[in-house]
Each structure stands twice: as structure tokens, then as C-alpha cells.
């Protein structure tokens, strides 16, 4: 809620949150808890302190980030890449194998045997298990790297991976990024919806503009492609096309540049919104306001982002003074 706006005395105060936050709650669907709010604010401001300079707060936050991130990725990959396709899959196939054996023992000509579904193709459970065991062996060979850096064993699984990835990317991308691109380009020079100049609401909707724009597009495309031709000698025509190509390329990069700025700023605004949410009186040390009472400045100043921020600035100032004494003047500021 816009607690910062209270400070600026702008905008109306928003409605109170649905349920007041608990001190500590592990329920992900509940209102974010108060302890969590303080931790979140501390970590966020610790990261931002890097803008002043590299400092212990940032280093702490950075290492926590690497630790937590690595652990999360490990957990997800372990659960979905090892437990699922190995333990659960083989467990399932084994169950079917046992059931089939029982069926066959009762009636050697049984027809209602169970199969394992592999990509939509029915496979006998025994085969399914055997094939998956190959993957286990390959995984173990990969793990040999933990003990011996130059062993031959990890090369086998690596080779399998390289082959699969290369083939998958090669086929799929040739289709979508080469063959179908030709299809995407099949558009008429004059858009069927274009109208004569005097009837158009805007220049863009007129026939003349449509023709011009589509010509720009086609010429631009051909010229950029010709800029990336390397093994034919550049005579006048190719040289001129290539120069036009560079212009188009630069405008393209310019649009990427503009979009990148757009995205980066959106990230910052979102963080500010998060801090703002935790500046709500409910998270403040002053406690939530009584019924009918307007939350005051005091409550906002004692809320996690403001209090943590103030303390951090104070500590950083002290730390910087200590560093200044220790470090030679002119040490690189990065």
C-alpha cells in the first residue's frame, strides 16, 4: 500500500490489507509475514548498497543468493530429473512387469498385458526398465568426473548429450528459423486493407504508404542479408547493399536498445513497489493503527524499508570512514 505516498501527502490512503500479517507464517497463501518482511527489506537494500560501493552487506547478500539459488536449482533438478524419470518410472514399469508375469503364469496366452507408454508408443515393461538402466549407467559415468578430472568415462554421456541436443536444435530451428521464415515473408507489397490516400484516417492506412513501407521492408531484408555475405567479392552493388544493410541493422539494434531500457526500468519499478508494500503500517514496529486512526509518519519511519535503510546507511558511513583510514588514497573505485 502506498505508505511512501503518505510521507509525501499525496494520493488517498488505500484500504487496509484483507488479513493482518502474522509474525511468522509458513502458509504461502497467507498475507506475507512480518519476520519475512524484515528479511526481504534487508536483503533488497543490501543488494542496492552495491550502488554506493562494494561492501560487506552486499557481499553477504550476494553469497546468500548464490547459496540459495544453487540449492533451489539442485532440488528442482533432482526431483524432476532424477527421482521422476528414474525412481518413479522404473517403479511404475516394475509394477506392470510383475502384474504381467502373474497374468502369464495364470494363462500363457493372456492378451491383456500392460505396457509402458513411451512417447505414445506401447513398450513392454522389461524393455522400458532395461532402456532406462542405460541412462543410469551413463549418469554414473558422468559422475566419475567428481573423482577423476581426466577420466575417459564422462566423455560417453557427454557425447550422447551433444548428439541429442545438436540434432534436436538443428532440425527444429532449420524449420522455424529458415524454412518457415520464407513463408512469414510472403506478404503483398500493398496491404489488402489499405485505402486510397484521401480516404485514409492516417497516412499509414493509405495505399501509397503501404507500398513504401513494404518496399522498405523487402529492401532492408535483402540488404542486411547481403551485409552478412562474406565470400563473394564486394563490387559496387554488393557494397552499396551492404551499406544500406548496416543502416537497417543499426535501426534494429536501436529498437532492441529501447526495449532493453524499457525492461530494466520495469524491474526497478517493481522492486520499489515491493518495498512500498512493506512500508505499510501493518509491518511497522509502531504496530498497526487503531480503528479509525490515520497512520502517521512515525509508523512509516519505523517500517522495515525505512528503518533497515536508515540503519544500513549509518553502518555504511561508519564502515567507509574506517576503510578510508586503511586504504591508500586513489584506490580504484569500481
Amino acid at each position: 500500500m502506498p505508505a511512501i505516498s503518505l510521507l509525501l501527502q499525496a494520493a488517498a490512503p488505500a484500504a487496509a490489507p484483507a488479513a493482518p500479517p502474522a509474525w511468522f507464517s509458513l502458509d504461502p497463501s497467507a498475507t506475507p509475514d512480518i519476520l519475512g518482511a524484515w528479511i526481504v527489506c534487508f536483503l533488497m537494500l543490501a543488494v542496492y548498497s552495491f550502488l554506493y560501493r562494494d561492501n560487506p552487506f552486499y557481499k553477504f547478500a550476494e553469497h546468500v543468493f548464490v547459496g540459495v539459488g544453487a540449492a533451489w536449482y539442485t532440488l528442482e533438478n533432482y526431483e524432476t530429473g532424477v527421482l521422476g524419470p528414474v525412481r518413479e518410472y522404473i517403479g511404475l514399469a516394475h509394477g506392470k512387469l510383475v502384474a504381467n508375469r502373474a497374468l502369464l503364469a495364470a494363462d500363457p496366452a493372456a492378451v491383456n498385458l500392460q505396457f509402458v507408454d513411451l512417447g505414445g508408443y506401447p513398450v513392454q515393461p522389461g524393455w522400458a526398465i532395461a532402456l532406462r538402466c542405460v541412462a543410469i549407467v551413463l549418469s554414473l559415468m558422468l559422475l566419475v568426473r567428481l573423482f577423476s578430472r581426466n577420466s575417459w568415462a564422462p566423455r560417453w554421456p557427454l557425447a550422447v548429450m551433444v548428439g541429442i541436443y545438436a540434432a534436436l536444435k538443428m532440425t527444429g530451428e532449420t524449420q522455424s528459423k529458415l524454412v518457415l521464415q520464407v513463408k512469414e515473408t510472403m506478404r503483398p507489397l500493398v496491404s489488402p486493407t489499405a485505402v486510397p490516400w484521401d480516404q485514409a484516417r492516417h497516412v499509414e492506412y493509405s495505399t501509397g504508404f503501404s507500398l513504401f513501407a513494404n518496399l522498405v521492408f523487402l529492401v532492408g531484408l535483402v540488404c542486411v542479408l547481403s551485409h552478412f555475405i562474406f565470400t563473394y567479392r564486394r563490387q559496387r552493388v554488393l557494397g552499396a547493399m551492404s551499406r544500406v544493410g548496416i543502416v537497417v541493422l543499426m535501426l534494429t539494434f536501436g529498437s532492441m536498445f529501447g526495449y532493453t531500457v524499457l525492461g530494466r526500468i520495469a524491474l526497478l519499478i517493481d522492486r520499489v513497489a515491493d518495498l512500498d508494500a512493506y512500508a505499510a503500517p501493518a509491518y511497522s514496529l509502531a504496530g498497526p493503527p487503531l480503528a479509525g486512526e490515520q497512520p502517521g509518519f512515525g509508523a512509516t519511519l519505523l517500517s522495515p524499508p525505512f528503518l533497515v535503510g536508515a540503519l544500513m546507511i549509518l553502518l555504511l558511513a561508519v564502515w567507509s570512514l574506517g576503510q578510508r583510514g586503511r586504504r591508500a588514497a586513489g584506490a580504484g573505485q569500481d
Binding site: L51, G120, Y259, T260, V272
Partner: protein
């Protein structure tokens, strides 16, 4: 002039930070005209017959959630409001908690039942390979669902899909980079001929134009695309009004930040060229 050129960049950091904080607090909304690509995204979902099954891929993580979350939430609202059924997957390990959080929040508003109206299958590793597998067969890719760790056979919704993407009418990817929409197009779009929509981060947006209109039926480019889409979906979805207002308010902050950046570029170049002329003189 020389002093200005050698300014400590932390003053620029401070200017940027202050601008965003102050403007955000003001909460003034700004609206955007809806572009063709966003309209087409909206229309494609509107055109699906009720009950169709849509695969919603969450391919993002907290780093880019700021850009993706609004479109992701709005898309969930849109799909559920239209009584479409949703299969959730993810190729990014840090995305499934977002899916669970939003379905917890949104599904009850439309009286949806887990397993019948939507399922959450969670993350599957392998990047391109993961998408290839999902395309080949959803049911042999995942052994259990992500929400309850229950065998897939217990989820009635999945009985209606089979291998080679059969039974799925549309794929929507909320994509923040690699692996993401470009890989979905390459591994699933062309191979199994399924229509695809996407909402992406700003950095990826420029590339999407090359895939429209055949391989991509529509797309939401960056936070501005999300705001335009919210303006469309929000019309008939009261639950989205707060999110729409928030996003429109952010657009104002965004505007002035862009103006600051443009101003900095111009100022930087003026200082640079004046300094160069001074040096020559």
C-alpha cells in the same frame, strides 16, 4: 563542463532512484493504445471454443517476474473466465511456485476444480529437450503432478490429451529468455503444428516480430504489452481492476524514467562534443 563529464556516476544512480520512488508514490495512471499484436493475442484466446485445453508454460524466474507476472496473471484470468481448461508446465526451475500461487488465488474465483479444470505439472529439466519431450508426449514426460505429487492417471483432464500434442488447442508461453518462446516455436510449433501465443520480456520482444503472423498468432511485448492486454481483459474482469490500475500507474513512472534516460544520452553527448571541440581549440 569538464566537471560534468567526470561526474561520479553515483549521482546518476541517485537521480534514477529518486525519480522512480517519488513518481511511484504519486500513482497517476497512464493509458496506452492497444497494438495489433496484443489485440491478436486477445482475439485468439477469445476465439477458442469453451472447454478447449490450453497449455500454459511458465518460463521465467524472479529476475524477470516484474515484467512477466502481470501478463501471466491476466492470461490465467482470461483463460479461466472463458472456461478454458489449463495444463501448466515450466521449463524454468524457479517458476512453479508462481503458478501454484496464482492458481490458488484465481481458480476459486471462477469455481474451478483442480485436476478437472486445471493441472500443474511443474518443472521439467533439459531446456530444448524438455520441450521436445512435452511435445512428443506429456504423459511420459511427467511421472506425477507438481501440486499433490499424485500419479497422472488420477487427473481426469489429462485423459483427453495424447502424444504429439493431440488434444491441446493452444500453447501460451510466458517467456523470459532461453529456454523460452523461440525454443517452443522450434520444437513444438512447427513440428506438431499447434498455434502459439506468447508474452515476453522487453529484451526478447524485437525478435518476435519475425515470427508473426504464421508461427506466432499474437504476442504481448514487455510491460507495455501487458498493460495493453490488461486494458482489454480488465474490461470484463473486475478482479483485474486493481492490477490494471497498478500497471497504468507504473506506466507514468516508466514514461519519466525514459525521458530521464533520453535526457542523459543527449546531455552526455553535448558534454562530449563540447569537450572535444574545446580540446581541439
Amino acid at each position: 563542463m569538464k566537471n560534468l563529464a567526470a561526474i561520479d556516476r553515483r549521482w546518476i544512480f541517485l537521480a534514477m532512484g529518486t525519480l522512480v520512488v517519488v513518481l511511484y508514490a504519486l500513482k497517476i495512471p497512464g493509458t496506452l493504445p492497444v497494438n495489433e499484436y496484443v489485440q491478436s493475442y486477445y482475439d485468439t484466446i477469445e476465439a477458442l471454443p469453451e472447454g478447449s485445453i490450453v497449455m500454459l508454460a511458465a518460463d521465467f524466474d524472479p529476475a524477470s517476474a516484474a515484467e512477466i507476472e502481470p501478463m501471466y496473471v491476466a492470461t490465467i484470468h482470461h483463460l479461466l473466465r472463458r472456461n478454458l481448461r489449463v495444463i501448466n508446465v515450466s521449463t524454468w526451475p524457479a517458476a512453479p511456485p508462481y503458478t501454484q500461487k496464482y492458481f490458488d488465488e484465481i481458480a476459486p474465483q471462477y469455481g474451478k476444480v483442480y485436476g478437472v479444470d486445471w493441472v500443474e505439472l511443474g518443472y521439467t529439466p533439459g531446456d530444448d529437450v524438455a520441450m521436445g519431450l512435452i511435445g512428443q508426449s506429456l504423459k511420459s514426460t511427467f511421472s506425477t503432478d507438481d501440486r499433490n505429487h499424485a500419479p497422472l492417471a488420477q487427473l481426469p483432464l489429462l485423459a483427453e490429451v495424447s502424444d504429439s500434442f493431440r488434444g491441446i488447442a493452444l500453447l501460451v508461453s510466458s517467456s523470459a529468455g532461453y529456454p523460452g518462446i523461440l525454443e517452443w516455436i522450434a520444437q513444438v510449433g512447427g513440428r506438431y503444428q499447434v498455434p502459439i501465443l506468447t508474452g515476453t520480456t522487453a529484451v526478447q520482444t524485437t525478435a518476435l516480430y519475425a515470427y508473426y503472423p504464421n508461427q506466432l498468432k499474437g504476442f504481448l511485448g514487455a510491460i507495455t504489452g501487458a498493460t495493453q492486454y490488461l486494458q482489454l481483459v480488465g474490461r470484463d474482469t473486475p478482479a483485474l481492476h486493481a492490477l490494471l490500475a497498478e500497471n497504468q500507474a507504473r506506466m507514468l513512472v516508466q514514461s519519466w524514467s525514459h525521458l530521464l534516460i533520453i535526457g542523459l544520452i543527449v546531455l552526455g553527448n553535448v558534454v562530449y562534443f563540447l569537450g572535444k571541440r574545446g580540446a581541439r581549440a
